[in-house]
Symmetry: C2
Subunit: 698 residues, 2 copies
């Protein structure tokens, strides 16, 4: 019965048949709870309960073991104790099961023993061409197949799943339960949710791929602790982008504290968050900070057309609320810009000119209240040509049912997105039912409104890197023989090989040679002591700048000889005499390697700004000149480069060109790269120069 080919992913998320090992009728037991959920939610495939002690459960024929099933099934749900796990997986493999959903936990995330067992079941599964989901997962919920294959009690609470376009792939099972609840209670329609646990076999990308291919799915949400295959992730997300399916993600490990917890949770090495951020930017993934907000944002996006512009028309029923929301939007750089003159004119039929604002307080109308006023206002704001979407924040107000009906009617009639916020706490039961019936998802807090508007803005401005840049025609791959910690001359030799400008320099060992070198390169000059693996040369007195004549060079030479003796007693005297580059804007340019994520180029503000601003951007190398320019423009110090306050602009083109060329070094070194850094990289009005370099290669 061994399968000749693994099951297709489309059938994993929408299986035609299931075997449930340890099925029971008792809702208090795991196997009973799942069976109830499957039956209650009307799963249409075949369910095979396995329980040697029973002939039937909940009206379904029961089988004594997996070996006794009358057909080859797609999925098996396995929640046996660890000691029975290997045998159960083996039995499933023998029976030709397509994939096992392994709930059993306390494996790889728990102990070395558990990790060994985890590896063992993967081997067994592979030997039968069977796939595994989990272990340490909580199953899946796939509304489009009426499949409630999870023990989360929220499935009983939600009598009927809401079908729709939002998929969720989660490394946390409990989070799947929470987001199922949030989606249900906010009218978010789902295509499917999968809990992937430790990803021993099938991993996040397998399900991401399946949901991108799935016709029902319009938006994919991800909760990630550790990414197993960044390169595949990149390709899939670019596919999703091309298919017009936004991918939203929350990732643990933004801080050291979060990384530690992700590791103990699903044995995931969180990896560098900054490399993940860079990856997301490259492939058009929107990162959020809160999982609940992610599923709600996805619901709003999936139920609406794409806005033509992100300027928002905001309607509420509280003057104070309008003022606070205006502050919140403005402080996030979100736009609720004035309405078009024609809209303003229409609003002024019912509102004084001082009150016909965006955000609009419905209550600020002239004279007494009649329903036509709200109706006309909603109509006018929603038709406004300056705004690409309408947000309606409902707090307790007069005529709530009629007003919301009108919002829904206008939303249906016009092809413009509506973001509805029912800030009514439990009071708004009737309004929630109206929205549920209309299929209009809603938010309940303005925090989430701001997040949704930020997501819309990001979706409208993102430009994924569909193709990696081409290597400059004149850039060969120089042979680099140095290993270990590179001295400044070694690092600079590499830079020169990549066409990065470095100040003219002569390595000297005597004071007379130094003076001669200085005379030949022209004053003023810089002297630098060259000592093994010293990083902060200046702090050790190994650097003397602005030496204007021979006398100054002699004095500096002598000082540096003393400093070398202090820093590295017995080290040979090797002093670099360098051309002095005029003042400019300093950057730090670094290359690092993040396993799986490829070489990373890090650009940061240099000099005193390093500590004050922590002004850093990171992207995957290699990068084109245009990519580098984008990165520079994302730095807070960009105005200094661009000629702030009427000063001359710096040689940005030369800097972009040099950094782009350097970015190929990351590619060329491959695994040999540990780190490489230019600090400072000085950009002047006339050029861009690496004043110092260091690195470690293996």
């Amino acid at each position: 019965m061994k399968r000749t080919e693994p099951i297709e992913m489309g059938r994993v998320i929408a299986p035609k048949s299931l075997v449930l090992i340890g099925a029971s009728e008792d809702y208090a037991k795991f196997g009973g709870r799942i069976l109830h959920h499957l039956v209650d939610h009307g799963y249409e495939g075949q369910i095979y309960p396995v329980n040697p002690k029973r002939s039937d459960v909940l009206g379904l024929t029961c089988y004594p073991s997996v070996a006794d099933l009358p057909e080859i099934v797609d999925l098996a749900l396995v929640a046996v104790p660890a000691k029975a796990l290997a045998d159960t997986v083996e039995a499933c493999g023998k029976a030709g099961v397509g994939a096992c959903v392994i709930i059993t936990a306390q494996l790889g995330e728990f102990s070395a023993e558990g990790a060994a067992l985890e590896r063992r079941i993967v081997e067994i599964a592979r030997s039968y061409n069977m796939r595994l989901i989990g272990p340490n997962c909580m199953g899946m919920i796939v509304p489009q197949a009426n499949l409630a294959l999870s023990s989360t009690p929220t499935l009983r609470y939600a009598g009927q799943m809401r079908k729709g376009g939002v998929a969720f792939v989660s490394q946390s099972g409990a989070m799947m339960g929470t987001l199922f609840l949030q989606s249900h209670d906010h009218g978010v329609g789902l295509s499917g949710m999968v809990s992937i646990g430790n990803q021993a076999d099938l991993e996040l990308c397998d399900f991401l791929e399946a949901f991108i291919a799935d016709a029902e799915t319009r938006v994919v949400c991800l909760y990630i602790e550790g990414l197993k295959s960044p390169e595949r992730f990149r390709e899939l997300c670019l596919q999703a982008h091309a298919a017009g399916k936004p991918v939203l993600a929350v990732k643990a490990g933004r801080t050291e504290a979060g990384s530690q917890l992700a590791k103990s949770h699903t044995a995931s090495l969180a990896g560098s968050y900054s490399a993940f951020e860079a990856l997301c930017r490259d492939c058009g993934v929107v990162l959020l900070d809160d999982p609940d907000a992610m599923i709600l944002a996805a619901g709003v996006i999936s139920a609406n057309p794409r806005p033509g512009r992100t300027n928002t028309g905001l309607i509420c029923a509280s003057g104070g609320g309008a003022a606070i929301m205006a502050d919140q939007l403005a402080s996030r750089g979100l736009s609720a810009a004035p309405f078009a003159a024609e809209t303003q004119g229409r609003l002024e039929q019912d509102y004084p000119a001082t009150h016909a604002n965006n955000p609009l307080d419905l209550g600020g109308h002239k004279g007494g209240l009649e329903f036509g006023i709200f109706e006309r206002a909603i109509e006018s704001v929603h038709a406004d040509p300056e705004t690409g979407l309408t947000a309606y924040v409902m707090t307790p107000q007069p005529m709530m049912p009629q007003t919301l009906d009108h919002v829904i009617e206008v939303w249906r009639r016009q092809g413009k997105p509506v973001v509805l916020v029912l800030n009514l706490s439990r009071f708004g039961a009737e309004q929630r039912d109206q929205a549920f019936a209309a299929g209009l998802p809603f938010l309940t807090r303005t925090d989430d409104l701001y997040r949704v508007l930020q997501v819309y803005r990001e979706l409208s401005t993102m430009s994924p890197r569909v193709q990696m840049p081409e290597r400059p025609a004149d850039l060969s791959a120089p042979t680099i023989e140095a290993t270990g910690f590179l001295t400044e001359p070694e690092a600079k030799a590499i830079l020169a090989g990549y066409g990065v400008s470095i100040p003219a320099a002569t390595l000297t060992t005597t004071v007379e040679a130094a003076v001669e070198a200085a005379e030949s390169c022209g004053y003023p000059v810089v002297l630098k002591g060259v000592v093994g693996d010293v990083v902060h040369k200046s702090d050790l007195g190994l650097v003397k700048v602005g030496l204007a004549d021979a006398e100054a060079v002699r004095a500096a030479f002598s000082d540096i000889v003393g400093a070398i003796e202090t820093a590295a007693p017995g080290a040979p005297v090797r002093i670099d005499v360098q051309q002095m580059i005029p003042a400019g804007v300093e950057l730090i340019v670094g290359l690092t390697r993040e396993p799986g994520f490829g070489p990373q180029l890090v650009l940061g503000a240099g000099g005193i700004h390093v500590e004050l601003l922590r002004d850093v951007v990171q992207r995957r190398a290699p990068l084109s000149s245009e990519d580098v320019r984008d990165m520079l423009q994302d730095l807070r110090i960009w105005p200094l480069l661009d000629g702030a306050r009427g000063q001359a602009p710096m040689a940005v083109d030369a800097a972009c060109e040099a950094i782009s060329r350097l970015s190929w070094l990351g590619d060329d070194l491959g695994d040999r790269l540990q780190d490489f850094e230019i600090n400072p990289f000085r950009i002047t009005e006339d050029g861009a120069h690496a004043l110092d370099g260091r690195g470690t290669l293996s």
Copy 2:
């Protein structure tokens, strides 16, 4: 019947009798809705309905007019149309009413005509010693008096008000309705809520004072659009701080967009948000960005003892949730630091060492689940000596009722705060009821948890300025005769009078005089052209620095003469020859006046940092040297002053002394101050010097 003295504020918020003009039984009508709310919520004082067409309503005797009432009443509710307003207020005044709550809107916030009527009713009220609340308000809700004097339909929804320690004074009536709802649905007990509308007579500070004096009130929340009396506000908030009653505030007008809306809403001039922020810091008020979050935070604080430390023990039931929360806390600088070794030891009975973390995922225990595990974990975390409060974030999990009961039991037993988050959406009905019954307020989103922890941190670190500093004994108040735009020498003369160091300087009109001045002060020198109201002197070529000899001085003099002719044709040649101060860290030091808020001292990073960092702090002048040091430490560039990266520290003491002395200038100038600025104020290793100054005085 005219009152000889105004009614006491304690009786305004808890009146013994009320007159309701236009009372009816019809819930659809305003006067009916209010009457129903009053009766339904069991107001214990005397209600006098007035309606000439009825002999009784809802079983209460009805009176034909205010003049016919059998006693002098405390409060009258007035919601008549604008055209009847003056007569109604007059009738109330004649009847000796203590205060009118004026719902009528479209007055000062609406039109010049409305503003005139608003002034008129204030005059009428004053003539009878009667107070007014509003107009354009929505009444008040005072649970301690069972007083539901508002038309907000949320009062009917909330069958029973929750009594407790949170007071709310709001410039927005609709916001009062929304926050009443939020408080009710999150178990927040209220002492009272007042909507103050346009503050034509009684204003925010009157109610703030009343609630500080009120025995039931433990925390006061404020929603502010414009503050009428900042000085009184300061004194009251200091009183509240001394009484251990935290004051939380949300203020509209943080941005230009919000200021505009606040103005059209309640005719409030929002004033400078930065001056308000400075005021809040001085008097110990915690500012929040979201009104809903404010009332929930107040609920948590009012129901708990003050935490001894703000390090938080966090419990949840999701490994993914724990990781995300750890990230969110760390990125906000909030602390969920490791538990004490003894706590760790206790947790390791049930949890592997890798999982006994803070935040603790209850689900990460060893072996199978029994209830004792959760119970012991909650017990251990709550008893942890390293943490000052416990946060419990409940998402769908096993054994929810029992677990929450245990959390409540532990909270009752121990004197340590518990912040409960029921992130269960509508699913958690039973848990909410458990919390309601226990009197434990709860949050529903982690966004609010982070805000609550930030409020706790702020409360624990705040140090209000109880006393203004004393004037330095040696600082006289120099006579300042200059008016209008001050030239650099005029500004510097003022600075010198306040003991601020300025570089030695000689004003010259000829090149020979300039050379002579330079010789006498010593090279290098700076030359500056002095021209009327020019601000950016450098950009116009009026400043030449680093002049090393007589030749350089001559060349610079000639260049500046040309620049003066360009900048101000025909202006006399006046060139300042100044001692050159060595490099250092540059600040901008400014004095401004904010009407009502007193003189404001603004300190900011100078030089290129002005635009890059927008690194500015503002406080009310005058300031002591210690105050100035606090401000400097709040700047992001503080490390540069403090000797970052092994560099020599700058002369911070001298800088604090100089800035403190300058801060008295704001006081001394009073209303004459328009603005005054030192830019740059250069702090070197040896001293602190005003290199340039300007100002405008009237």
